[in-house]
Symmetry: D5
Subunit: 93 residues, 10 copies
């Protein structure tokens, strides 16, 4: 099933730069894993913000929640999940 | 360039059903045209709402505006366009 | 999978009373069907409002959207769907 | 009487991890007590957020407030309580 | 149990004046009944608005919802109900 | 004159517990004074929140502001004051 | 006592122009009366909107509400009243 | 002086098409006049919406308000005016 | 030209009391200067809040911005400026 | 392509003044670079706020995001980007 996942990242500007670099490196690794596993089917940067919108795929809600919460920057996230269905005007493929 | 286009459709419940059916049929045709042209790269139904989120591609803002405004249900739309960029954690493809 | 479905019903006060009575009777029948089918697992009235919150179960998003949109009062609905997962503090049952 | 209780938990990301673990363990115990006592009749995780929605039962408002405020993470909560009534379309059971 | 009930009344300015006068007279009668029955313990006009805040008392949520919905202007209402408890700093009376 | 005073109290969770206990004790004393003086005619806890709604009486706005600002927890308050008038449907008493 | 009164006027664009002209003329007369009586101490147009902010003076809330509701365009108003007190940095005059 | 003027145009979808065409033609003429007079220094379409943002110049607020209100579609506008000043990082020109 | 200036002051409750007293004394002096210069034509306390609404007069936007930013508590301000024009129903004086 | 870029700057009032001065000086240099490069085509101060609105030009979204994120005060920014198109009433130039 497909979900629209909007993530705002609110890292405090005074976070220790080394700690932030570590978190970002770990985030990158975990994000790649989720993309390779097909959980994150697409992810884009919202221009001008430390925010993303993504298309996520998961067999159930527990798996989706665990995937989002497994991202190292999760404690700084504000996440909005919206369930998506096939659009009536999209081709049946 | 890629855009996140969120559309809420607010058709009044007392719209003449025949008129609505015509509009929807025309909307379907125009939507297919935009999908075939690659302007709409993906479009999904927001579950429970007469609303969609879509990934739209356009070479410039005039083309994008004209594409959105060309949809027959446009007079009933409330549209929010958000520019998207490549995400730092997305593979370079 | 479980969803939290909040529905505000905005019937215009000048809707023909006979038409409204018909819609409400049909809504009642369809709602009972969805409850018997296990799609609506629980539904409650928000006190003081023509609104409900419900726990809905569906195998996928298309089925959920169709169930909500099948309710006769759907053209008057403003719906917010939130995916729910098992809570870490809820017993495993 | 039944209440819809929506809880957002806003633990600061720099809270001491040991303190947080203690709080969470105590929260779990207290939550189980409230579930066993029938005060929390159902509780679910909002996918992607440190938030829950729950169905709470209490004989009066003082008891409900004390139950919510007795949770160890209460100082980090943002709570919205909505009174629920039987829905006209729910079976009489 | 005590509830804070905030009511915004949105009567369309073009409502037939005779119909409005009838509705207001009936509203007045029903409001007095609810005050005499002790359901409305206090009600005040929000200055400058066709709106009220009230303290309502009801033994359960069904009774409260029926009382609010029994007001003849209910189809024009936007109602927010907030459960109230004894304040820790209020005297025990 | 009568005012509806809604107070949200936002004490940071890491405030020194002893300091908080002192503030709360002082708040209680001052609140009782204002109740005895008839400035606070009624005050209730919003269930689930560190918040109150109250009916305050004051001969003028300066007196009301000073009364609110005299509460020891005032630096942590977010206050909304709404002027109330007699409701047309309330008995003349 | 002094009040800040913000008024948005929402006249529907299809209101009969003659009716609108009558209402506006009557509004002008009533507004002048309230200014001469000292109830409206100052009133200004919000640039670009059919809206005003005003400083109103009234001995009590009933008088203020009646003054606002006596304006012929009141059925089209959305009004927000804020009580004002002397500012600590304003000269004592 | 420079102003940021954001205009949302809310023409009802059922407005008579001939009337709308007339209004739009008149709007175009008046807009050109204001651009030639230097009152509108720049105006852009918000992509996907019947909305504009503009940089307007006016010697005083009365002139600005009259200019905005002189547009034939003004009865359908929702306008937000924000005063702008030279930015400290803009060259002195 | 006249402006409506609404200021919310958000001083953190843990600001050093001596520092706060200094800032407030300096604020008072600067505010008096602006009042004597005719820049602040009127300023009032929003009852129950550390907030003010004021009528400010300035020959241009740069002067107004500098006046507001010259207040010692400016780093703690949240300011909303609204341009005001003569109201059509205000006497010509 | 043209973008409307609204930036709120939220520097905490307790930021070390020397650090702030450094950041502002660097911001000024980088802002001048972006203006000279034609990326920032216009930038204005929102009166009374540490905020700006700007007209930015960029060949694609990646370039725009990098330009905004290259500003030294970016960690303190809250940015809203809106794509702009030629307005139908603007001269073709």
């Amino acid at each position: 099933m497909l979900f629209h996942v909007a993530i705002e990242v609110r890292v405090p500007p005074d976070l220790d730069p080394e700690r932030l670099a570590e978190l970002r490196a770990a985030e990158r690794v975990r994000s790649h894993d989720l993309q390779e596993a097909g959980t994150i089917r697409g992810i884009w940067r919202v221009v001008g913000r430390v925010a993303s919108v993504g298309l996520w795929e998961a067999p159930d809600h527990e798996t989706l929640h665990e995937a989002i919460a497994s991202l190292p920057l999760f404690p700084y996230f504000d996440v909005t999940v919206t369930p998506l269905a096939r659009h009536p005007n999209a081709p049946a493929d």
